[in-house]
């Protein structure tokens, strides 16, 4: 587990510090140097794209933005999911039943369609992407949190708090929420890969991150078009994407195993 966590940290470090090592700007075009394969000459370690922009810097930017999107989107779904699930789990009874019914029906609705509609309707601004991706993932979180809350609710310290007259809201925020941290962290690391894939999928449809910013999804999509002639344009960002996803997946798995083991003890 440490290994994958370490790789991730390394990647993030390189993503943020790497561009400092290169003299190139991510949006500086250079029409004399288009589609150069990776070379040490001219400090184009990853080569250049079809507008002559340096791919090393752009890939690093892509990693930055991809991770940013994924983390923020996950936080959005975390906040919504935790609040929703905690309230449902704690209040219980009819309210819980209705809330969970709602979640059940939303669960398999074609969110993808709503996201596409949203993006088309409100013109793809940066913020909306986070919200859209986050909004599609909160259901899982809500369910897990509700389950945890249900079991936490029966614990003594909650009884004590209730008996001494602490308000419901306070109980949820100050007593239940902190105990959810473990479970939440585990699931966040598992939803991040989903968020990353989702963003890359939006980019494929032309609805994701807009120029001159870029993300791994946009880079990969552009690379697919250059597959025949300039395969490095596809291979490098695809490899980075795969490595990041793999690390998150393994890391999340390991976290979950550790957490489950702790639970069942």
């Amino acid at each position: 587990m440490k290994r994958f966590g370490g790789i991730l940290v390394l990647i993030v470090l390189i993503a943020f510090l790497g561009p400092l090592l290169s003299p190139h700007d991510y949006q500086q075009t250079n029409f004399d140097n288009i589609l150069l394969p990776p070379t040490a000459a001219g400090m184009h370690w990853f080569g250049t794209d079809d507008l002559g922009r340096d791919l090393f810097v752009r890939t690093m930017l892509g990693v930055q933005i991809t991770i940013l999107v994924a983390v923020v989107a996950s936080i959005v779904s975390l906040v919504i999911g935790v609040l929703y699930g905690a309230v449902a789990g704690y209040v219980g009874g009819r309210v819980d039943a209705v809330m969970m019914r709602f979640v059940d029906t939303l669960y398999a609705l074609p969110f993808i369609f709503f996201v596409i509609l949203l993006m088309v309707a409100f013109e793809r601004n940066f913020l909306l992407i986070f919200v859209a991706i986050g909004a599609t993932n909160w259901l899982d979180m809500a369910r897990i949190v509700r389950g945890q809350t249900l079991s936490l609710r029966e614990r003594e310290f909650v009884d004590a708090a209730r008996l001494t007259g602490v308000s419901t809201a306070r109980i949820i925020l100050r007593h239940i929420a902190p105990n959810l941290v473990g479970v939440v962290i585990v699931y966040v690391t598992l939803t991040i890969p989903q968020a990353i894939l989702f963003e890359s999928f939006l980019s494929f449809l032309g609805l994701g991150i807009q120029e001159p910013q870029t993300s791994l999804g946009t880079l990969v999509d552009a690379g697919v078009n250059q597959m025949q002639g300039a395969s490095y344009m596809l291979l490098i960002p695809a490899a980075m994407l795969a490595v990041i996803l793999l690390c998150f997946n393994f890391f999340g798995d390991a976290l979950r195993d550790a957490f489950d083991a702790r639970q069942s003890r």
Binding site: L109, F114, L117, L118, V120, A121, F201
Partner: protein, 307 residues
């Protein structure tokens, strides 16, 4: 039993209404209209078109008219394909998406389960490593990357399979799309099954069965399989959703005239009625499916019915 079903149904209707209103508002909030073109329209003609499609009326009235027609099963004409109604377009595209999705799901289940069980049985061996690596790659590479790569190698370079959809007869043209769609799900299901199976195989009652002298195959088939399948079963909901999402990409890449592709183009063309029609169609479908599954659960597990 009937009461249970009815209750569920009633619970679904508000959700459906909410979906319709939300979708309607979003589609109409989108700037740009269906009759927009670089070639400008003379004002009199634009006015007639707007009138014919109710676009000149205030939004709430448009919504009301739409719902009334919907209650009669009329999804309206497509704005973009003026020769066809939305119902016809959906009826033409849906069977294709259904077959594609069902085949991919079936493939994913068969291969995924088999791989997961195999990996669990030979846990930590080479076969296990191989299956798991494959599974991990399936999750880590987006469909729109490996689908074109597959097309490039298998169709264009080697000519083993057709490169496109239209104009090609025979089962060959289904293979790449189904495989592309199924691959990520195979990966997920294999991982789930493996983990779950390893769990189950380590439990007491299995040890008892083995102590009684049952062979591996029998143990798996009669004792381990059912409990191990539970996590996979609960993944089926998200799996269907994932296949739905994936189908939009696969249909784009291979040029398959399915519902996903129809939706994307409808959204980009501001084909209001088509987009609304597809969203509602899917919502109804999914709610019905959920209902059926719920009822089945109720049939299988009497405990749930009594809640």
């Amino acid at each position: 039993m009937l009461r249970y079903a009815l209750l569920r149904l009633l619970g679904a209707i508000p959700t459906l209404l909410l979906v319709i209103v939300l979708a309607f508002l979003m589609v109409h909030a989108a700037p740009g209209g269906p009759f927009v073109d670089e070639r400008g329209l003379p004002p009199a003609i634009e006015a007639r078109l707007d009138e014919a499609y109710d676009l000149d009326k205030p939004l709430p009235e448009q919504l009301w008219r739409y719902m009334v027609r919907l209650a009669h099963g009329d999804f309206g004409p497509s704005f973009r394909y003026t020769d066809y109604t939305v119902s016809e377009l959906i009826a033409g595209a849906f069977p294709l998406s259904l077959r594609l999705g069902a085949a991919a799901m079936a493939l994913a289940l068969v291969v995924g389960l088999a791989a997961g069980i195999l990996a669990a049985l030979r846990s930590n061996s080479l076969a296990d490593r191989f299956v798991m690596t494959f599974a991990m790659t399936g999750i880590s590479i987006p469909v729109f990357v490996f689908a074109p790569v597959l097309v490039l190698f298998l169709a264009v370079r080697l000519h083993w399979l057709p490169a496109g959809w239209s104009g090609n007869e025979g089962p060959a043209r289904w293979i790449l799309p189904i495989v592309s769609l199924a691959l990520p799900q195979i990966a997920y299901i294999a991982r789930l099954m493996r983990a779950s199976m390893i769990d189950v195989l380590g439990s007491d009652f299995i040890r008892t069965a083995r102590a009684q002298g049952l062979g591996t195959v029998a143990v798996v088939r009669y004792h381990a399989l059912k409990p191990a399948l539970l996590p996979v079963l609960s993944y089926m909901g998200p799996a269907v959703a994932a296949i739905l999402t994936g189908s939009v990409v696969v249909e784009e890449v291979f040029g398959i005239p399915g519902l996903g592709q129809l939706f994307v183009r409808g959204a980009l063309n501001r084909d209001y009625t088509l987009v609304l029609g597809i969203v509602i169609f899917y919502a109804v479908l999914v709610i019905t499916l959920n209902l059926v599954v719920d009822i089945l659960y109720g049939v299988i597990d009497p405990r749930i019915r009594r809640r």
